[in-house]
Structure formats: structure tokens, C-alpha cells
Symmetry: D2
Subunit: 345 residues, 4 copies
């Protein structure tokens, strides 16, 4: 951490501040320029609160040299994290994981029907929302506990492990039999929830918030990991910008950056990023070429009758076509080593 002091900071004040940092376990080196004095902090500065430093009266500005995340940091964990489920399914091993299913679980017929279709098309996981975060209190809020049961029913019929979103730590006991718990974009910084998920031994699919930086995203992963649960899957699902043709703006750079800075698997949600079905395929292609470990795609048996997100859901027939093309793209790029998101230079 590099700290630029204000002009005129007295030696006594500098000494006093240095002692504070020493007590935090880091050593301080001062460098005196003609106008400014700069302090360099050495040691584990991840736990030093940058706001605390900025608040010191003699501090002009601060610059972190080290990333504030440790468990999520590739520097301290050079190998890719590969997540293996009890049933043997694997995420992050270089293969392409396809997670597919409806936005909301609506009925047994619906979820089991979609599950069978996406399984047949080659999906590895079934997604489906039981608890639904809706902007309006008057919109369908999900089947809740019943939805979770229907997902388990669909898993029984197809063998597909299930991915579903949690909205409150108070629902945790209902999620015991869920294979991967999803944290939605709006809860990326629901820190109380993240802490509870950190106590589990179960993969967490963490979605990036609509206006969160990649550094904040990794800090939310760090919340879960610092609690002991290192099975975190990062999910880029579009950020909020001024562009309004799409529902959100897919930040494709997030894939190679997250894979560079972190060792965690990265999946992409083209359905929420775009909000338009005809963009699902090209954005998925781009994600594969940029190194994504997986895709999470909304598939609904009857999008026009979907209780949520119909406009971005594709049909099982369409998923048949797209899944085939995505697998093919992955295969031909992978055969040439062009699908890693890591530059050859």
C-alpha cells in the first residue's frame, strides 16, 4: 500500500501514523520528496481498511498495490479450482458446463418436462427458480418451498443436479438438498447471507451485481471463502450501463480478468445479460471463445406463458439447436487450444 501524505505533514504526525500501522502488523517505509512524503506499507495489507487510511488528516491519497482478496486470489492459489459434485459432475476442468432450465419453476409437468428436454440436449445441470426476486411486489414471487420440491422431483427423473437461487439466510434449511445454491445479482452484497453460505460444504454460484466492479465481486467470493467454503463459481450476467437495447451489457472482459486474478471457475448467463432470445447464441459463442467454463441459459417449454422472463427464454427445440452449436464451437476451439481465455503472448 502506497500512501501519499499531504504537504506539510509534520514528522511527529508521520511517526504517529507509522506506529498505528506497525500495530496492524505491517512495516512502514517513508520516502521524503521535496514536496510530498510517501509511505510504503509492507506485509499483509489486505486487512487494512482503505477508508481508515483515507480518513487520516495527513493523508492525501492511497493506492493499493496488493489485491484485497486472498482466498480468491490466483497469486496464492495458482491452479484452477475444479469443482466436483457428489454425483461426479465437474465444473472448471476445461470442459463446457451447460446449465439450463426455466426462470421459474411453475409446475411439476413444466419443470420435469424441461429437465428431460435439456438433459437430452446435453445440459449438465438443471436451473429453475423457486424463490424469485421480482422488482414488483405484484409479480409472481415463485412457488418457494414447493418449487424446491419440484426441482428435486425433476432431478430424480433426469439425474441432473439442480441449481437454484436463495434469497434469505432464513431459508437455508430448505436448501439442504439443493446441489448448487445460486446467489442472485441483487444479493451479491447481502453480506449476512454470504457469511452463512460460507459455513456450508456446497458449491455456490455467485452472480455479479448489476453495478459492481470485478474487485467487489471477488471480495464477495472472499466472504464465502473466508468462512470456509471455497467452492465458489463466479457468474457474469451483465452490468448496468446507459445502453438500453439490451436488458444489461454483458461484460465479456470479465471472463479473462476473473480467470487471471482468481482461480475460480467462471460461467456466463447470456439470457439475463441480453434479455433477448436472438442474442443468446452469439453471446454464448463469445463467452466460450473468451474462456468461460460454462453457460447458464434460460429454457422454457412455453416462453409466451412463462410466469417470468419469457422474453429471454428459448424453447427446448431451440436449445437443442443452440446446445449443439455451442458444443461444436467449444470442441473446434478446444482442439486448437483457443478456448482458454488466456493469451498466448
Amino acid at each position: 500500500m502506497i500512501i501519499v501524505l499531504k504537504q506539510g505533514a509534520s514528522p511527529e504526525k508521520i511517526e504517529e501514523l507509522s506506529r498505528i500501522f506497525n500495530k496492524m502488523g505491517v512495516s512502514v517505509n517513508a520516502w521524503h520528496g521535496t514536496q510530498e512524503t510517501v509511505l510504503g506499507l509492507l506485509g499483509d495489507t489486505a486487512s487494512i481498511d482503505i477508508d481508515f487510511v483515507k480518513a487520516q488528516p495527513i493523508v492525501a491519497s492511497v493506492k493499493r498495490v496488493q489485491e484485497p482478496y486472498k482466498k480468491a486470489n490466483r497469486k496464492f492459489h495458482p491452479d484452477n479450482t475444479v469443482i466436483t459434485l457428489p454425483g461426479g459432475q465437474v465444473i472448471g476442468d476445461g470442459s463446457l458446463t451447460l446449465i439450463a432450465g426455466p426462470c421459474s419453476v411453475e409446475s411439476e409437468d413444466q419443470i420435469c418436462g424441461v429437465a428431460q428436454r435439456v438433459k437430452a440436449a446435453g445440459a449438465n445441470f438443471l436451473r429453475g427458480g423457486a424463490f424469485k426476486p421480482r422488482t414488483s411486489p405484484y409479480a409472481f414471487q415463485g412457488l418457494r418451498a414447493e418449487g424446491l420440491e419440484l426441482l428435486q422431483e425433476a432431478r430424480k427423473k433426469t439425474g441432473l443436479p439442480i441449481v437454484t437461487e436463495i434469497m434469505s439466510a432464513s431459508h437455508l434449511d430448505l436448501f439442504e438438498d439443493v446441489d448448487i445454491i445460486q446467489v442472485g445479482a441483487r444479493n451479491m452484497q447481502n453480506f449476512e447471507l454470504l457469511k452463512e453460505l460460507g459455513k456450508l460444504d456446497k458449491p455456490i454460484l455467485l452472480k455479479r451485481g448489476l453495478a459492481n466492479t470485478l474487485s467487489e465481486f471477488l471480495m464477495s467470493a472472499e466472504y464465502i471463502m473466508s468462512g470456509g467454503n471455497e467452492k465458489v463459481i463466479l457468474c457474469e450476467r451483465g452490468i448496468r450501463t446507459f445502453e438500453n437495447f439490451t436488458r444489461n451489457t454483458l461484460d465479456i472482459s470479465a471472463i479473462p480478468i476473473l480467470k487471471n486474478r482468481s482461480h475460480l471457475p467462471v460461467v456466463v448467463d447470456p439470457s439475463h445479460a441480453a434479455g433477448i432470445t436472438w442474442l443468446v447464441e452469439p453471446l454464448s459463442m463469445a463467452a466460450i471463445a473468451a474462456g468461460a467454463d460454462g453457460l447458464i441459459i434460460e429454457v422454457h417449454n412455453d416462453p409466451a406463458r412463462a410466469l417470468s422472463d419469457g422474453a429471454q427464454s428459448i424453447t427446448p427445440d431451440q436449445f437443442d439447436i443452440i446446445a449443439k452449436r455451442l458444443r461444436k464451437a467449444k470442441a473446434v476451439l478446444s482442439a486448437e487450444g483457443l478456448d482458454t481465455g488466456v493469451t498466448a503472448i
Copy 2:
């Protein structure tokens, strides 16, 4: 709600869609142009999910004419909501409410000391965080339950009602003796929490999310109000933009717009919006002139030793000066009827 259909939509499909809308309790009028057909929906369309409409295969685009919020809507509640606390304190009656106190409660001495100082300077409420949403799991997380007790202690000593943030519905019983419960920006769309707060009979200070539109903000207020709790105070605290001189960008337009579209009181948090102490006063002045009902300002006895947000906290001595100037500005503008945020034209 105006729905533009795709070219070539068949009369049968249009008829089918109209029947669906009829079942939702609205009537449909079709207008056939040479190229497009447009449907106009009449009745209470607030409960119609716009995503559902977009998902219909024959729909090209949709436009809401009515706002999707009802309880929060000034159209159905023309008078300003005035919130009165059991102790007689009032928010939204045209006076300027000053809410002041430290970011975090740190000790009894600290919170009681600050409380006495801000009370002496004319604050109406004491703020202080017991549960702290921090980006890093390694940062100070607040004194939690103990912090709430210390706030109550400070209230006992000063008579100031307390405003403090809740981070999870599971903590609700701890907040029984809190006067105003704050929902932080990161939880603005924590819908499960909002639903629980809707069951209380206690004012909720709801902060706008960092990347949420004003319409979404009012929909979150609607979540609380639709549950039965209509005592919602809206708080603008800066949004996230590309500008990085300030921590966030204060959206000053939010004040007159929220007061125009809604009847709820609007307060502004200049401390979080700016993140810099020397901006607290000019932004507060602007907020008053734009019609804000109150201000929530971070005051810390020793910002350089604050466990959080020191860089944006002012001292009690500084609050003495600023509070006096803000009260004066409010008084001179108010005397001329220039502080309402409502245009005279």
C-alpha cells in the same frame, strides 16, 4: 399499457392474446395501422408483468402508460405523507430533519458523546451503524447486538430517536426498540427483507441502490407499503457512474422527481454520496434548495480513528458550524417559499 405488435400478427393470435389480458381484468382495444397493430390495455395494469407481455411471440414492444407503483404513487395519494414518531418528532412536514451520528457505533463513550454533541447542535435523530455492510470480510463488521444496546443507551441520555441499519430479516427481533429502521443501498432489492419490514408499524428509511432507477426505488418502497407499512422515508445517497472524483454521484434530480411521483418524504445522505468531508456542506445546501425533507450526515468524534467511513465523517465541532448554516439556509429559503422542490410554473 400500449403494445405494438409485430407485422403479420394474425387476427387469431391477436384475439387469443386479448383474451389473456381480459382474464387479467383489463380491457383491450386494438388499433390497426397499415403496417402495425397496436393494442391499448385499459384498467389496472400495474399488476401486469411487462416481461410477460414482451415474451408473447406477436409482441414487438411494450410501453407502460401508468406507473407500476400504487401505494407510493402521488396520483392516488395527493397529500404529502408526514411521518410522526411516538416521541413527537416529525418528518415530511416542511421542516428540515437532521439525522446525524457516526458510521459505526464503536463504544458507549463514543456514541453517547457524539449523540450529546449532535443534539446540542440541533440534530433531530441519531444515526449509528450496529450491523455494518462492508465490502471486505476482513473489515470491522460492527458491534451488532451490542451496538444496538449502546444506541438505546445514547437515546436514553439525549432523547434522540435512533436510526440504524438492518442487514437481515433474521435480526428483526433485535430491532424492536429501534425508532427508524434503515435499509442500506445494497439491500434495496433484498425483497425478502422488504416484505418483513412491510409487516411492521415503524418508519423505514429506504436507501436507493447504487444502480437503481427511481422507478425501481419506488417499487421497493411499494414492497414495504403493500405489506401494510406505509411509513417509508426515501433516501437518495448517490449512484454509481463513471465519475470517480467522488465516491458516488449525488443524483440531485431524484429529490424533485420522487416528490413529484410519490408522496413520501425524501432525505439525502451527502456523506455517502460524496465520500469527502468538504463536499458535505455544498451538497447539503443543494439538497435543501431542491426540496429535501432532511439530511443524514456522518459525524464522528475522531474521524481519523473511525472504524469505518472516516474519510467522509465530520467532527462534532464541524457539525456545529454546518448545522447552523443549513438551518439558516432552510429558514431564508423557506421564508420565501423557495425550498419545496416544486416549480412555481
Copy 3:
């Protein structure tokens, strides 16, 4: 165009407004609901100024049904525009165009050296800045006229056509012997310049502005095309968001959207989008998979000594490697029909 009128608009006022629209050459259909009246405008509404409509006292809101661009619109020009240069080079025919070269032309040795290297590596065009838009007046502003001469020299030696940026209509005569004139992001809405370029018979590479919507981008293309010059190449180069890990945020969705709405070729500039060399390859891969017609990549003989943009420039040796990999990715995807940016569903 659909116009929702305010409640209480009188029949006389509606009649008056309708006559105004009739004079503009469009016909008006009124649809009277119980509360609102809606007007539907039929005919060529592209030339109707939406601001004019909004300004009418009886108008509540307006919605465009037709896109405001015509020449750039795929609806009126279903086939892809393929741009062929006098020397036979082609952009937009399904092949991958590689445009490479330094940010700034610095000397004859430098530009000719880089030109020979990128040609050998398979580039189709040489890029290089003679006039440089720099944020600071104290930064290197380019070799200007001399730079253009050196580019022509490099073209003579390599046969590569040259792409270089114009910053003012007053420099147009200097650009007579330039093969493709580039309009930089900061000049995307320099309408006086666009009008002048519309009079030429020469391809224009138009970069998207840092905060411009895709609709505005196409309107800027329309400026050039409406003047008679239909040889416009659209270039996505990153937009400005809150994320600051990268210099800008590459909007990958722009590729399939621009190709869907327009018939013009779309190229991507990963160097400016990222601002970091190790992101150039993964972003280029993503762009190819999303359907880009070409890439414009900064290559400098000695990035550390570059007079501008060194941090995002790769070396000729690195370009050798990357160009080969990009060509390979294009080839394997293309062989399977997976590189078009158009969904198969």
C-alpha cells in the same frame, strides 16, 4: 410512432396536432381509451423529431416504432454491405479483416518496419495515427501532415492500404490519398465532420463514442450515408462504465445487434477497449465468435518507447502469434458456420 396524450386533451387540440402531423406527410389514427387517447402515426416517421412531439402540451409520452435510420437500416437493405477497395481488399464478405499498426506514426523507420512485420503476419490493412486526439495539450499530438506522408511511404513498401484518423474537416485535402478514413470515438457526433465525409467516395471507419447508444451510433453512420457515401464500417471500441479494471468496457453485444439492425460491416478494436495487452487476444477471440468482420489491433515495434498508448500495444512478435491464432479460430468456427453472429434459431 405511438403518442400517448395527456388526460383531458381536448378534441380541438387533438385535431390541431393531427393537422400538423399531416403536413409532415404522415397520417394519424386516434384511439380513444377511457382515460387516455393514443395517436398512431403512419408513414415515414423517421424525419419526425421526437423532441418536437414531446414538446406538445397535450403529449404525455412518445414511442418510436420504426428506427430513425434508413440508409443504415437492414430493413431497407437486407444484404450485407461488402466494401471493396480499389486494390481489391474486401471488408464484410465473411472473411476476417485484420487492421494492425501503431497508435501513432513516429518515424519512417518505425511505421515502415511495423508495416512490413504486420503484413508478413497476415494483416490486411495498416493503421497508424498522424493526427492524435490526446486528453492533454501537453501530450504528443502526432506528426500530422508528415505522418500521413510516412503512412503512404509504408503503403508503397508493403502494399497495405492505410487507415488513419481525421480530426477536423479542415484537414480533408490532406486525406485524399488515404484508403480508409477513421473517425475517432470523440468525434462520433462531430456532425459537421460527418457531413463532409458523406461527400467522399471513400470508406469511413466510424468508431462508437464512449457513451453513445447503438441507435445514436447508427444515426452517425446515417449522417455519412445520407450525404451519399454508403461505405461505412462500424467499429465497437468499448464504452465507458463504472468498471475501471479495463480502460473501457467492450460491448460485445454490439456486434450481433449492429449486424441485425444494419447491413454495415462491424469491426472491433480490442486494444482500446481493454487498454491492456494480455486482454487483446481473448477479446479478439470473443469478437470473432460474436460475428465481427474484422479487428483493429495496435502493434508497436517498441511499446515501451511508444509516444502514445504503449500500454495496450503488442509487439510484432506478439502479433505474429496472435494473428495466427485468430486466423485459426476464424477458420475452425467458419468451417462449421459458427462465426456469423446470427443465431440459428
Copy 4:
């Protein structure tokens, strides 16, 4: 300037880089930590290109300590710049400057009529567009040279100096008799135009770009000032964000920040910021309270017939009312010293 080097940078490479900086006229101090080496640059670093530094292979990251602008910097020019026109009008002396008039000059009757009305209401300057930057090539582009003549006619009749926008350096001779030349938001980084304006001896009203940081804004002012013309008036007119209720988002913080970092006068354009007439007054009130030196307000004799921006234009009758209220607000705040935008703490 503080430069953090990559781990493992060799002493030779560090020495080599230091020599380069020495040649640029700055001295270098190296500070060797256990893991990183940090270089501190002393002297006039404003002319050092930060991109150049980032491009050095041994550099990990860079932090500017000094602002890159000099002429615009309050540090080197502590007193407020007060701009006095030949006719005696003054901007930046603590009074409130009102600039009013239509978006576009449309006819002699129109501009002279509006001029007389706004003069009677207390405006100090007449604004009016002759050259109009329009998103669409099919929209009204302004009366151009004729419009400038009509503005001069209006000045003759009222004595109000005129403010009007230039769109290209090639029009400069037409602007000889204009009192204040405006640079629009879309041309804030039209550097060739800025350079030409730097050669004049005439005030320039420079509007902030829709997505430009305050630092970039001041660098554009620096372009003009470094050419010799120090009469620059900064204009905040709203930035582009995700919020779409308003046309743009007024960045109210820009006022106190620009006045803190720079000595130049700051005016605010509430009409373009909001795009809605009923927001013009509250945003103007906020701007005054935050320390603005002036306001630029769109006034049109018949907004519904305006050829541009009618939706945000108020009528002369409305301007009568608002101008009176704004003058009153300024007066009562000023009497108490509450209108400076400078905090008392």
C-alpha cells in the same frame, strides 16, 4: 508521480527507466521494499504521459499525485477568475449570471421577441443556436450563418451579449462578432477546435461531455488556456447514466469540485440536464445553493412549435416567474454567505 514496479525488476532496468525520466526534466527517487520497488518522480510531471509510463515493461502501476492541468488549476491561480465583457457584463464575481434564450434561432421575430422578454425578466445574456448538433441528419440543423446575423440583430435591439455554439473551426470567421462562443458537450474533446479557440481573445463557454470526468473536463479547458485564451467558463449540463427519467443526470457535485480544483467560473444548464420543464426550477435552485456562478436556461416563445428541444424549453411568462424566484434565492442565500459552494469547515 508514484510508480510501482513489478516484482523482479532488475537494477539495470530501473536505472535505465530513471534516466529516461531525468531526460524529461524530473528527478527520480527509488524506494526498495521487500517485494516491490517504488519510484517517486519529482518536478513538473504534468507533461509526462501516464500511458507512456504504464507501457514500460517493468511498471506495475502508476499514480499521479499532481493534477495534470496547470493553467486551469487553482493551486497556481488561487483567485477566482472573473470574466468581464467589453460591454461591462461580468461572470464569476459572486453575482448570478442568467443566460436565457431558445435552443435554436428560428426567425427574426422569434429571437428578437424572446430576447426582449428575457431581458425584461433580468437575463444578462441571450443564448440561441445557429449551428445545431442534431443526432439525426433529418432534423433541423439550424439557420447557420443567417442565425448568427439574427442573434446580432437581437443584441442590437436589447443590448444583451450573445452566447452561441460553434461546431467547426472552419466556421470561426462567422463567429467574430459573437460575445461568448459555446462549445457543446459533443465537442468537448474536439481538440482541433479547442486549439483554435485558444488563439482567440473571447470568452469560451465549455460544456462538459456526456461521459467525461471532471479531470478530462479541466484538461479540455487547459487546451484552450494553454493556447493563450484564459477566459473559459465551465458548464455542467448533465452526464449520462443508467437513470432514464431525465434526459441526463445533473452532477451537482461538479460545481463545488470544479470551483475547488479550478479558479474558473462554473455555470449550470438545467434545461439539458433535465430535459423536462418542471425540473428547471428545482435544479436551478440546487445549483445556486451549491455555488454556481450562473445558469443557462432554454426559453422559447412557443415551445410546442420549437424546431428543437421544445420539451425542455419554458415560455417567457414562465421565465419571468422563475427568474424572479432564482434571483430571490440567490439574494437571501448570499446575504448570509451561503451561496459560495465552499464549505465553512
